[in-house]
């Protein structure tokens, strides 16, 4: 029998942030306790207004070994960057 609690990845939306950001991971027996633990471990200095938890083994990740084929082809395609446009201020943060 496995005695270790599963690992959870913790995402917190900050006071002024717009999206949840990954802040770290912790162990907990279930999702509810993971949220409680996240509250105690990661928001004790008033960092957040919303918490997401995801069990780490539900996250599919790209492999570092595939770095070449995945990312290199875009390096030479500067025309994909919208750096040639002025963004109006009304648009806000993008």
């Amino acid at each position: 029998m496995k005695n270790e609690w599963p690992l959870w990845e913790i995402f917190i939306r900050g006071q002024h942030g717009m999206s949840h950001r990954h802040v770290g991971s912790l162990h907990a027996p279930d999702a509810e306790m993971a949220i409680k633990n996240a509250r105690d471990v990661y928001t004790r200095r008033n960092e957040g207004v919303s918490i997401w938890v995801v069990e780490a083994n539900h996250i599919a990740a790209s492999s570092p070994g595939d770095k070449g084929p995945l990312y290199e082809p875009s390096e030479s395609k500067v025309y994909r960057h919208p750096t040639f446009f002025d963004i109006p201020e009304e648009v806000g943060a993008m």
Binding site: H27, P29, E32, N37, R39, D40, V41
Partner: protein, 253 residues
Amino acid sequence: MTRDEAFTQFLLRMGDNTLILGHRVSEWCGHAPVLEEDIALANTALDLIGQTQMWLGLAGEVQGEGKSADDIAFLRDVWDFRNLLLVEVPNGDFGRTLMRQCLFDAWHSIQLGHLMKSSDERVAAIAAKASKEVAYHLERSADTVVGLGDGTEESHRRMQEALDYLWPYVGEMFQSDDVDAEMVKAGIAPDPASLRADFDALIGRILTEATLTIPDSAFGHKGGRTGKMHTEHLGHLLTQMQWLQRAYPGAKW
């Protein structure tokens, strides 16, 4: 006993509960079974010490002898403490610590709910601030009691042992005396006995879900909140908590 004398006693009871339990819970710092629980327990302890500062600060004010919250916390001896015996008993294992926390949190949350409507606005303000912290304490301790009670064979056994050990300390929360009568008359605090039904309903739900059995005994230890008689454990706790102020009176940093 004047109104202010009774009021001071009442405030000492509130503040000594949170002070002694806060100290007990802080003993887990660096020793909890997992890092997450370690931080959570330390947070709880800090909340309780913060509440102590408010209750004992107000006690000093009402008493009118120029004493600060620190003077009251660090310069009294065992016989002057007015906390429930429940909060001074040693932590035992993690399960017993969380069972004690849950029993206290259940009472504490109900008590603070009443104190938020206190005729004394300073009491109402402290209760309003503390009640948010305590609502979370209760959520956490109740969850853990259910998780361990309705857990493995070993965790269930340990939680039942914890409940059997601690249940005789529960009755003291609901014993009323002259101090309480005076507080009721002034509209400052509720009659402790009047909280029993809400407590039984709340703790009954939690313990049923935890598949634990409340001991069938009406026996209850008492003497803590009146100061008549504490357990031998409180003196040991105070020697640790107070040694610095006792050895170096007035030391500051």
